[in-house]
Amino acid sequence: MPAVEVDGLGKVFRGGGPRRRPVEAVRDITFVVEPGERVAYIGPNGAGKSTSIKMLTGILHPTRGSARVLGLTPWTQRRELARRIGVLFGQRSQLWFELPPRQSFALLGRIYGLDRRTTAARVEELGALLDSGDLFDVPVRSLSLGQRMRCELVATMLHAPQVLFLDEPTIGMDLVAKQRFRELVVWLNRERQTTVFLTSHDVSDVEQVARRVIVINGGTIIYDDRVAAMRRSVLSTKLIEVRFEEPPAGGSLDFDGLRVLRESGTEYKLVVDTRRRSIRDVLDTLLDTERVADISVVDPPLEDVIARIYGAQP
């Protein structure tokens, strides 16, 4: 049984008033996520990401189409589904601000039908894993955003959900907090086979957490492939970073299919159009004609790839 199964799902917001037109936020999206997958569901602002997640978690009723999450229809079996999924909205809190997180966890444990001992054991384990146990007795309002988000993740994971929906989970976090958060999500996926469905505008979230990416734009899915395949299939370019022992002969590197992106003394950053010239050919030419001290070939940044995909019309 798939973890998530979506078929022709669509949502039109009615607009609320005679002057406001209905808005079609999601149009006939279809995809399947298998158990244990780590999927990034990305798109520009207003693409329909959050609306999709709200339908998949049962908050919103769709206008058309069907969806099954762990075999349940989210909007008609919302409470039953809630026991089996975890949802973390980066811009909303599920903790009680007046309470220390530990008391929020205790209450959430009861809401999810866990006994005290199990709740306490899980809180302790997750606290150790996140190195956050010392935060659990501080009132939520006194925590930094990164600290609070770690507590939010504990709250989300307390009932051991089988599918984790993360909507902009790292928004506002510092670099270290983001890194820890991503590591934890990947750990949960590997150790517990928790299916991860992530939306984020942070490309590093996509690169470090997801193995598959689904891109939605204008309410329609425009790309669905493995993250590793994304660069190759979308951009036909590679970057070469090279340091010469002395400046290139003639002062320039003028080859067909090669463009200088940046130069600084003997250091160059070059872009190769692999449709016009192979990487091997470029490397051979450089090594034969110039005195190369160091050279490396890298993929273009994922931001460029995603920007190219976003630019595609649905």
């Binding site: 709200k54 919103l60 809630a82 026991r83 949802v87 009680w96 809401i111 039908g113 001992r117």
Partner: protein
Amino acid sequence: MTGGVWGPSGAGTFRGAPVSAAAGGHTVSPYAAAFAAAAGRVLRRPGELAVRLLFYTVILVVFAALWSAAAAATGGHVAGYSAAALLWYVTVAEAAVVATKPRLIEDIGVDIGTGAVATEMLRPVSVLWLRLASELGEAAVRLAMALAIGTAFTWAVGGAPPARAGALLALPSAVLAVAANLAAQHAFAGAAFWLSDAKATWFLYQKLVFLLGGMLLPLQLFPAWLERVAWVLPFWTMAYAPARLTAGSPPQPWLLAAQAAWLVVLAGAAAVVFAAGERHLEVAGG
């Protein structure tokens, strides 16, 4: 980490039953837990509680003087109530109203209008009943404190409650009054699912409770037509009923049953509004 507390299969919760697998100890109803946690939250904000109780005490002092003067001017009684009975009336009626948050409808409306309620919809329990349990937990503490202070003050100023038999029913009646008030506020606030705002609803509701609920004066002091209107509406269950049981004569124990019936109606209305509202909810964006 071990897999013991995460389900029988350890790694691989997809194969296990993570929640039902939790064994040992006992579980408490989520609504009872929310009630208890909310009661604890009020005690954690002693400043807010103290300000509210101070405001309540000031009202009692003012009304003690007011009703004494009014009763003196009308031969010792106003509409069958002595000055002391009127003070007891205000003590209980005000305590029942002051126990609930003054802007609860507006707060609920903000949660609905901004989509914050979506987080609550992701829990495997009723959004409405959990909210009501939580509000009741907070209100129970405030009610107990207000009644304790009010009883001490009024007993000292005006003597024992004039209707002692009825006063025994005042405590359960006050609890029913608070519950009915909270249920009605949730039913009114549910309008925010369609209007995205509950400010206008809050303003209207507050005035209805103040006036037709008999919070400041007994319904018998109203003009006859207004008294008839007040009896038809549910607001008298939120202040008048426990106050009348404490201060009025003869005792009217049927008020308690009528309150319970109204509570069922109001809670049912709130449930219908929230169920329809949750189906209607439109929250775009993050």
